[in-house]
């Protein structure tokens, strides 16, 4: 049917909207579960994943590649779920993690800062100024994060199909809009769309598996199960990578053909 990603700031009622949409449409709802799944699958503490998807990459990142790896894991876990279709994902950057898939309805839920401050004060038992400072810092972090990884500003409305401001409009109004939009022809899961998400899932899977083997700075594309692995390494070092790819191909029957492309620029659609 469709995949719905709901991007939200904290305390913007995004979670509520997501859960109601899922309930109305009979979809599964996914958020932190993805992180849990990823942490189980790749044996890393969840807290590291949370930080990976939250904090902007540090200078240190250039040496440790921690964030690169965790993101690869999260993406692999999310796309694996998305292949099964009928999904509402809420949380950060879902629209970016599922880039290039046509049947994804990308929604952003925003709310007034004052309303969010009030909500946070209530839940976390903070003073108004504390809550405000925390929210602003949080927003800035997320902005930095998306910008550093994807070069996109989460507040840029052109990234979404639908931006809904919860203020005059209630949560139920938002749910109505989203359900209506999700029923449009363009969000139907066609064979082609399903194939694309499968290819994306495969590419992410390959990338995550390579990240597990400490192979970083790699971009992966897949088209019809023909996987291309791009690396900036020179041809000689790429041979070592090739050795690691061999068992991988055996483990993933979806791979029809795998090629290593050393020293080539990463294509924009690569994951």
């Amino acid at each position: 049917m469709a995949i719905i990603t709901i991007s939200r700031g904290s305390y913007s009622k995004g979670r509520e909207v997501a859960e109601k949409v899922a309930q109305r449409m009979g979809y599964k709802v996914v958020s932190r579960d993805v992180l849990l799944e990823a942490s189980e699958k790749f044996h890393i503490p969840e807290v590291k994943l949370v930080r990976a998807i939250h904090d902007a990459p540090s200078v240190l990142e250039r040496f440790t590649h921690g964030k690169y790896c965790y993101l690869a894991f999260i993406r692999a876990a999310l796309t694996e779920r998305a292949v099964k279709d009928d999904l509402v994902y809420h949380g950060l950057a879902g629209h970016l993690l599922l880039k290039g898939v046509p049947h994804v309805l990308k929604v952003r839920i925003i709310a007034d800062l004052e309303a969010r401050v009030a909500a946070e004060m209530k839940r976390e038992n903070l003073t108004q100024s504390q809550a405000r400072a925390l929210l602003i810092k949080d927003d800035a972090e997320r902005r930095k994060w998306t910008q550093s990884l994807y070069g996109a500003d989460p507040w840029d409305a052109s990234l979404y199909d639908l931006v809904i401001h919860i203020n005059q409009l209630t949560v139920d109004d938002a749910v109505d809009f989203i359900v209506q939009a999700a029923g449009r022809e363009c969000f139907k899961t066609t064979a082609d769309a399903q194939r694309k998400i499968q290819d994306l899932a495969l590419a992410c899977r390959v990338k995550a598996s390579l990240a597990e083997e400490d192979c970083v700075d790699i971009a992966v594309t897949s088209e019809f199960g023909n996987v291309l692995v791009y690396t900036k390494q020179d041809d000689r070092r790429a041979h070592r990578l090739e050795e690691k790819l061999k068992p991988l191909v055996k483990g993933l029957p979806e791979i029809n053909h795998l090629e290593l492309r050393p020293g080539q620029p990463f294509p924009p659609e690569a994951c």
């Binding site: 088209e223 019809f224 023909n226 053909h257 090629e259 290593l260 492309r261 080539q264 294509p267």
Partner: protein
């Protein structure tokens, strides 16, 4: 009874030297022949004129002419048309091909000169070997031997048998009829072929192993490996509902999805496109020919519901080795292609050649070639017709590592080639003009009607064969002229004295076999027939039978590459003398046993 002279001893030494050099191969066999050609007149065993008379002999000129005719038939595609039906009947198994072609050659050679039949089939066998990847060494020798054996099926099959009746006239013996020898001949052919079918793998060389160790051969093998990785051409038909309820499928879509390269397709009704453009749409019920690995092609066929044909059918001609092929082209230093992607260069659009793969530093790239920025030194494997590839070659941005020597076919001249072959054959069979004259007429005719140019004709001639035969003829002349042959025959036959007729016949057979290896079969027959007839009369054996043994056994020339047919096949088959000795001695023994047994049973 002649007495032994110094000259005779000298001749025997020379024969010994020649045979020794054939065996050890310090120099190539044709060089041995030239050595004889020069040494014999120096030793005054033959006159200088006789020494080189071999080069102008009937046999050598016939071979030259018949090779030219064969080349003409090959160039016009006549041979290909012949090969098709042969393969259809014979299938792809090596033994079946050997049996079928051998029988055909034997049949033809029973009515015409062996060498003619053998030479006509040479290009066909070469094509079959190339197409089916059977080592040519496994095919040529059985077929060549069958051509020789086929000569024993009728009385006009080989020169010794043609002569036989004339040689018996002085003895007032009843002449043989045309088919009197047929039972023996058929048995010999059958035994020869059976020998290769059952023991072929033991007695035939292992497919040119001798040069497999050379670096060039290794390279060739490596190249084949790449080609193997690319797969081979396959022909498929799209189903009638191929385009129903779906987006149009393009050539590019198939290659992206299945890594299968469409190199040709038939647009209905029957317009063939070679090297179709990437955005070319594929419709329902069209025939495609693609390059790809078997697993990819089979996956495509099953997923798209295409019908995969067993063999190339519609594109057989276009994709035959002579019309199109796969070459490796390297991006040259300073080439304007460096840094561009194949999509930008668009070879398909401009030259109608299809890039199949890119080979860079030991890695083969097959997927999404279009987006790959080319580097200097990248090798691109391209498929296209030779004509198109030549245009690309002339453009100069790519260096071709595989030479574009594939000859361009002239199918429009096929009729002329056929006519001149027919003229030559009619002259031989109907007007009984000398073979060399008839064949040279045919060859000349082909050149005059531009079936092939005179330069191509010269290039087609295998000088190795010419000098091998030309050089051995003076040795035969010396053996006869000095009386060596007569002396040997007399000595041997006297030595055995009066024995059972079967033993006598066996000895005569053996003697004729040995003689025919060194001197010409005609010479051996002329020399031996009068002798053995007298011997047989003295030993109360049937003199006609003795004469027939000579006539037949002079075709038993397999151990050395001295028979015209063997000499002709030696070069193309990459045989060595040892190969002939190994296979030939087995066949020769079988020949003698079968011949004596058959003669004993039937006459």
């Amino acid at each position: 009874m002649p007495t032994l002279t110094a000259e005779m001893i000298l001749v025997m030494i020379m024969i010994g030297v020649a045979v020794f050099l054939f065996i050890v191969e310090w120099v190539r066999v044709d060089v041995v022949a030239i050595l004889m050609m020069v040494t014999l007149p120096l030793l005054h065993l033959v006159t200088p004129k006789e020494a080189f008379s071999g080069l102008s002999s009937n046999a050598v000129v016939s071979i030259i002419a018949v090779i030219i005719i064969g080349a003409g038939l090959d160039k016009t595609g006549v041979v290909n048309r012949l090969v098709g039906p042969i393969l259809k009947v014979a299938g792809k198994s090596q033994s079946r091909i050997v049996i079928f072609i051998s029988l055909t050659v034997a049949f033809i050679s029973s009515f015409m000169q062996n060498i003619g039949a053998a030479a006509l089939f040479l290009p066909a066998v070469q094509r079959i070997s190339k197409n089916l990847k059977i080592p040519i060494g496994k095919l040529l020798m059985p077929i060549g031997f069958s051509a020789i054996l086929g000569g024993t099926v009728t009385l006009v099959g080989s020169s010794p048998l043609i002569l036989l009746n004339d040689l018996m006239v002085p003895f007032k013996l009843k002449p043989f009829g045309l088919f009197d020898v047929t039972p023996v001949g058929l048995a010999l052919v059958a035994a020869g072929i059976a020998c290769f079918v059952f023991f072929g793998r033991f007695i035939l060389p292992g497919g040119g192993k001798s040069d497999e160790s050379s670096p060039a051969a290794e390279e060739r093998q490596e190249e084949n490996q790449i080609i193997d990785e690319l797969g081979r051409p396959w022909e498929l038909t799209t189903p009638e509902d191929f385009t129903h309820y779906r987006e149009p499928v393009t050539v590019d879509a198939l290659r992206r999805r299945y890594l299968v390269n469409v190199v040709g397709m038939v647009e209905p009704p029957d317009f063939k496109v070679l090297g179709p453009a990437p955005d070319q749409e594929i419709r329902s019920g069209v025939d495609l020919v693609v390059y790809g690995q078997e697993k990819d092609v089979r996956r495509m066929a099953s997923e798209e519901g295409m019908e995969l044909k067993e063999d190339l059918e519609l594109f057989k001609g276009e994709l035959a080795d002579h019309a199109s092929g796969t070459v490796e082209a390297v991006v040259a230093p300073r080439s304007n292609l460096a840094g561009k992607t194949l999509n930008q260069v668009d070879l398909t659009e401009r030259f109608q050649v299809t890039p199949l793969a890119v080979y860079r530093q030991g890695v083969v790239y097959r997927a999404e070639l279009g987006d790959l920025p080319l580097r200097v030194g990248d090798a691109i494997l391209l498929h296209g017709t030779w004509k198109r590839l030549e245009l690309l070659h002339d453009e100069g941005s790519l260096l071709f590592t595989t030479p574009l020597d594939a000859d361009q076919l002239r199918p429009e001249k096929a009729m002329f080639a056929g006519i001149w072959l027919a003229v030559a054959l009619i002259m031989v069979i109907v007007f009984k003009i000398q073979l060399s004259v008839c064949l040279m007429t045919g060859a000349l005719g082909m050149i005059l009607t531009r079936v092939l140019s005179i330069d191509e004709a010269y290039q087609a001639v295998d000088w190795r064969t010419v000098f091998l035969l030309g050089g051995l003829i003076p040795l035969g002349i010396a053996t006869e002229k000095t009386g060596t042959a007569a002396w040997i025959a007399h000595t041997v036959l006297n030595a055995i004295g009066t024995v059972e007729s079967i033993v006598l016949l066996a000895v005569i057979g053996l003697l004729a076999t040995v003689f025919t290896l060194v001197i010409s079969n005609v010479g051996a027959t002329v020399l031996l027939v009068p002798l053995v007839v007298n011997m047989a009369l003295a030993a109360h054996t049937d003199p006609r039978l003795a004469a027939l043994v000579v006539g037949l056994a002079t075709s038993n020339s397999f151990i050395l590459p001295t028979h015209q047919v063997n000499a002709l096949y030696m070069g193309p088959g990459r045989y060595r003398s040892v190969d002939f000795m190994k296979a030939g001695s087995v066949v020769s023994i079988i020949f003698l046993v079968v011949m004596i047994a058959m003669l004993y049973l039937f006459y």
